[in-house]
Amino acid sequence: MAVVDPSSRASLWRLLWPARVPAGFRRTARVPWIPIVIISAIVAMAVFAPLLAPHSPIDQTLRDKLLPPVWLDGGSPKYLLGTDAFGRDVLSRLIYGARVSLIVALLALIAGGGIGLLVGIVAGYVGGAVDSLLMRLVDAAFTFPAILFALLLAVTMGQGLGTLVIAISLLLWASFARVIRGEVLSLRQRDFVALAKVRGCSAPRIMLTHILPNVLNTFMVLVTLNIGVVIIAEATLSFLGAGIPPPTPTWGLMISEGRGRLTDAWWVALIPGIAITLMVLSVNLFGDWLRDRLDPRLRQL
């Protein structure tokens, strides 16, 4: 495989970064192994929760309430990370909580990200009045107090997974749409799009076969970078009582429940807090790496 492409145009960058090397592999940062391990562990926890959890996450054993983690005085090997005010095993709740967090993240990213992708492609490609209208909508979405809206939604629709996913999707789609549209605007100027028209492709066909595959990298990067946002949003809403209703364990809810006892039973709130921090930090580090690898243009984000 020739490194320097001889017949490309006289461009220094062509010489330095030969076109045969896919764009993403130019400045390969070190693979973030630690974040990958943490993310994998949390995903495994969520998937295999029934097998991993030593206790039921819901059943209360009031006799064992507020036991500290095993390494502290009074800790019991039965409850490795201690118990909460209702005598529920913190470790088991943490493991099941990962499930809820990841399911919410997945659904919200599919819904919100998907809408953003669609809006971004249509606005960017069709342009004109459609673009103006959609982008004003995006602007409006940015000015909307998302948390307030979510609380309102929880009141009118009732708490639950559906409400949570809708609320978070509404928070997400606009930022997706804006970035994707920018990408499409520059893609639209590329000759292969004009040539597709000359070959006889319809507008939907061009968007599907020429535009979409070329923004998927960016989309994947956005998805990864937003996992952290979603997990925090879920935790926030659950904390505020607009999320999944108790007793289903979620990380946000766990913090909310432990909040009042930070002085005497800090582990109830702190342990899920550490889990959120680790997860968000890991997905962000992984997302940064993915962005550098796949889409150098997004670096300024």
Binding site: A2, D5, P6, S7, S8, R9, A10, A19, R20, V21, P22, S132, R190, D191, F192, A194, L195, A196, K197, V198, R199, G200, C201, S202, R205, T209, H210, P213, N214, L216
Partner: protein, 323 residues
């Protein structure tokens, strides 16, 4: 004389220059193409020459139905192309194809080249999978690539090879006319010659007509049967290529010719160096648009627009010097 394949009649394209997003106001009109007429005969090459901003690319984009003319008509085999819809547009698209300048931007990086070549066939439901695959193989061989390269992605190809792929894709629907917009200017010298030879071979085999948009006169000389020279949206001179190169008439064309740097030192004789730069097409000079830079300008050049007038067989010039 056989009937022309493509006729362009009094073509105009004015772009409105606007300001503001919501409450737009028009600042003026850029007359990118202003009253241009020519014809291309089947199996021939027409060279469209000029510097940037002369309107040659806009003209070609109107012929490709990528831009709507402000005025004037384009007729393919006698049929006007404006307002073509559905089936009729598909038929037109199959007959008129294009190859653009930049081989790096012409191919979808996420699409296998075989699929790119097959695009026009797939869109037109030309045949089943096997039939299309066979046609793609045939096309790859025709442009000097290997059939198994259909499975590769554009980044695995060099610039010259990509331009061959782009040509194969243009040839797929057996077009009658291919618009070649600076097809070799992005390529290296040695690759350029390969591509030009290939284009000529394909024309000899398939009888396809070319509209060659180019700035390089030597390329036009080697490729075109007929040459049209444009300046600021107008045709200043048009002639059979041999006649034009034998005797250049219009002062602008003369200046273009003397700006060609020959690979022969010391061969720069009667040089015309133009003063200044091309005026803005937003506010082009009145009457003859070249009079502000013309070394032979006369008073009437600023007052009366010189019509395109035939000075010898097929050779027309828009200049008051030839009246």
């Amino acid at each position: 004389m056989n009937a022309p394949l493509l006729r362009v009649e009094n073509l105009r394209k004015h772009f409105a220059l606007t300001k503001g997003v919501l409450f737009t106001r028009t600042l003026g009109h850029i007359k990118a193409v202003d009253d241009v007429s020519f014809e291309i005969r089947a199996g021939e090459t027409l060279g469209l020459v000029g510097e940037s901003g002369c309107g040659k690319t806009t003209t070609s984009r109107m012929i490709l139905n990528l831009e709507e003319p402000t005025e004037g008509r384009i007729l393919l085999e006698g049929e006007p192309i404006s307002g073509l819809q559905g089936e009729a547009l598909a038929v037109y698209r199959a007959k008129v194809q294009a190859v653009f300048q930049d081989p790096w931007s012409s191919l979808n990086p996420r699409m296998k080249v075989g699929r790119t070549i097959a695009e026009a066939l797939i869109v037109n439901r030309w045949g089943d999978r096997a039939k299309i695959a066979a046609r793609v193989r045939e096309l790859l061989l025709q442009v000097g690539l290997r059939p198994e390269q259909a499975e590769q992605y554009p980044h695995e190809f060099s610039g010259g090879q990509r331009q061959r792929v782009a040509l194969a894709a243009a040839l797929a629907s057996r077009p009658r006319l291919i618009v070649l917009d600076e097809p070799v200017s992005a390529l290296d010298v040695s690759i350029r010659a390969q591509m030009m030879n290939l284009l000529k071979d394909i024309q000899a085999e398939d009888g396809v007509a070319y509209l060659l948009v180019a700035h390089d006169l030597a390329t036009v000389r080697h490729m075109a049967d007929y040459t049209v020279v444009m300046y600021l949206g107008r045709i200043v001179e048009q002639a059979p290529t041999a006649s034009l190169f034998a005797e250049v008439r219009h002062p602008y064309t003369k200046a273009l010719f003397s700006a060609v740097l020959m690979a022969e030192p010391g061969r720069q004789a009667d040089e015309i160096e133009l003063r200044g730069e091309v005026p803005s097409p937003l506010d082009p000079p009145a009457a003859c648009r070249f009079h502000t830079r013309c070394p032979y300008a006369m008073p009437q050049c600023a007052e009366v627009e010189p019509p395109l007038r035939e000075v010898s067989r097929g050779h027309a010039v828009a200049c008051h010097l030839f009246e």
